[in-house]
Symmetry: C2
Subunit: 423 residues, 2 copies
């Protein structure tokens, strides 16, 4: 893509009401646009990152046999009354049409997915095992957050992956739940924050002992967790008590208090949502049981914001290669015609090699401005074409997270790129 064709530009400043670091950087870089507190639109660069996160998550969900759906945002009030959440959920948006009819604007989809499945299952034979039945979507959610001040970390409208699993036995559920713990670790590693993210024991609400959160260490996090480095586990503050410590065989004095962002959670739902809808099956003896459920959430918008919070420096964002909007930021410096021709040639060569490249081909922009924009964008590899680089035998390459660049030939650049893309 040619930067000269982009409709977005970088900005020096954002409006004073934007106090979060992640949104500030994303807005300045032209990745997102703020519509109101907690509501952001994705502009082309931001959407590219979002799609890459989405594809990583989709791959991992498909790997465990997840069946992808796309459920509606509008949800019948009756369903929410059945589970009691029409009244009990404070952050539920209720939409009224001109005939006075009310519907829920979905913050989550238990009330939709359970009635759907009820159409299709009645016997234990309807439940595949290995892998068990799981249904997921990557879809827009709405939650009434009156004080949304954390940029992409807490939205009134946000993109989420929600998966629901269905089981005919506790054993089947537990095996899948354990597998999903590993899948979640893989996802957070793949998007580049695995080293900062801990599986964290948290409250299981009124019906389960624990739920598990995935918490990423960050000074701006709203959660407080206690990390045990040796076991790579953590406890949410809400479950930090002697009973839990002894159950998990953790020593209080070894725990380190940290602020953190909850980037995912998984939950043993037991029969909490299957029971109100009588989602049940008959076993091989003809006896009826209520289906057991688990749910598994990841907020994609929040995950994107978290990566920006924890992987950035004074100059801008530092995207991991796996979710960077482009692999290479190619910068043409100066107005020399030969250099322009060379840069065009390199751009075409990279594109033909299937490498995702953003080409800063803008005229009338200083080298300093181009470097500053490039640092703000945070594309992993910067490739500069200038009179000097050509004189020295090629292009100057510099990784976003390194201080110094070096000059390499175009052939070497292609080798480096193909090596990166097969990693």
């Amino acid at each position: 893509m040619r930067q000269s064709k982009f409709f977005t530009k970088t900005r020096k400043e954002v409006s004073a009401d934007e106090v979060s670091r992640n949104a500030e950087l994303l807005i300045r870089a032209g990745f997102v646009h703020k519509e109101m507190a907690g509501v952001y639109s994705y502009l082309p660069l931001g959407l590219r990152v979002l799609r890459k996160i989405e594809n990583i998550i989709r791959e991992e969900m498909d790997n465990v046999g997840g069946q992808e759906v796309l459920l509606s945002s509008f949800q019948p009030k009756e369903n929410w009354e059945k589970t009691g959440r029409w009244e009990s959920m404070d952050d539920l948006y209720k939409v009224v049409d001109s005939s006075g009819r009310e519907v829920a604007l979905g913050p989550t989809h238990e009330e939709i997915v359970v009635p759907i499945l009820k159409n299709y299952v009645s016997s234990h034979k309807d439940f595949p095992s290995n892998p068990p039945l799981s249904i997921y979507q990557i879809q827009n959610k709405f939650r009434m957050e009156l004080r949304a001040k954390s940029g992409m970390l807490r939205g009134r409208e946000f993109l989420m992956k929600d998966m629901y699993s269905f089981h005919t036995s506790k054993k089947d559920f537990e095996e899948f739940y354990t597998k999903m713990q590993g899948v979640y670790k893989t996802i957070f590693s793949r998007v580049g924050i695995g080293h900062l993210t801990y599986m964290t024991f948290a409250s299981g609400g009124t019906f389960s002992k624990y739920s598990h959160e995935f918490q990423t260490i960050s000074s701006v996090g709203e959660d407080t967790i206690y990390v045990d480095e040796a076991s790579n586990l953590a406890l949410n503050k809400e479950v930090l008590n002697d009973e839990v410590l002894s159950q998990l065989n953790l020593k209080k004095e070894k725990l380190v208090e940290q602020k953190s962002i909850e980037v995912g959670n998984i939950f043993d739902l037991k029969t909490k949502y299957s029971k109100p809808f009588d989602l049940s099956f008959t076993d091989s003896e003809g006896e009826k049981h209520i289906v057991l459920m688990g749910c598994y959430g990841i907020g994609l918008s929040r995950l994107l914001g978290t990566v920006v919070e924890v992987l950035s420096d004074d100059k801008g964002i530092i995207w991991p290669e796996s979710i960077a909007p482009y692999a290479i930021h190619l910068l043409l410096l100066g107005e020399d015609e030969n250099v322009k021709k060379e840069a065009e040639k390199i751009y075409e060569t990279l594109k033909k090699s299937g490498i995702e490249v953003l080409f800063d081909d803008r005229g009338g922009v200083t080298a300093g401005e181009k470097f500053a924009d490039s640092d703000l964008f945070g594309i992993p590899l910067r490739v500069v074409v200038s009179v000097r680089s050509i004189k020295e035998g090629g292009v100057e390459i510099k990784k976003r997270n390194e201080e110094k660049g070096k000059v390499v030939s175009l052939d070497d650049l292609l080798k480096i790129c193909s090596k990166n893309s097969t990693n």
Copy 2:
């Protein structure tokens, strides 16, 4: 994909309140689930079709230089007040939060995209030409339809592609608008309804002479159009008068009245939405002008429903190859162990060849039921493995839109598939 793992099943009947043919077939086949009138969830098979339609449209938008974004559903009331549509648009959903603050739930995005662009453009130099600046998204829309009775054809919640183009001259706009007419024809051809779809002159509202609709002939359509076969054009009833006929050089007696479904429309917006936000530019002489705009919509949910309406028979859906959920429906008949092994082998071979195949590997289901399900699903090529087909030298293949099948070898099947996929 193995059909035995699917959580959906086909159904013989749908609830009596579903009166539309498209929704009836899609629900019976397990492609969608109805949440309420005008609101449908996409189940795995339906989502596969939707994604294919989405990808065709995305390719065509990218081809004309469209820059993809993902704009928010929640939209500031202030923006809608600026254009006057907060009051004037009857089908706008307004959402109130517990603090009393109102927001719009987006039925369209002029009120969002114009203020975004205003951040980035001020001079004629900010507008690329050839291709001109255009921004699009494929995103969920909400519209208050109190009487939604046409299945996927008229939704309260629906997926839409909306593109907006921006121009510094009438000539630039007109060239792009004409190009988009061709792009739309290409899209409707690619999804398989080109032969039934006419570019139709329609009212341009209060500020433009005409808009152009793309209307697909169907007896269930809500629109009435007058088709001129010779020129491949049509007129919407609303503009059928002597003045228009003479302008377009059409003869009334040659026009054929048809019922039709509006599957897309393109619109000359002039300065209707740029003016309220003062989206302007200075020309090379430093003089200020308001930006000219066009908009270009396609409802994806409606398009999917239209394909089902016009391409189906008594037995079920007949998907065009380009948007079919799978290319091949492989049916294993009977419980013979050798046949099972052979079918498994064929399934693996097809998958390895990169062919999208749905494998009906279910046990305990009669051949008649499998054939009926296959006809309902509408996958373009049915491939049957049975004792008989193996005895006769391979598999029995039959296209969904043909009456009779024939037996071919596995090698020949692979040749047919690879030929289809390169078409």
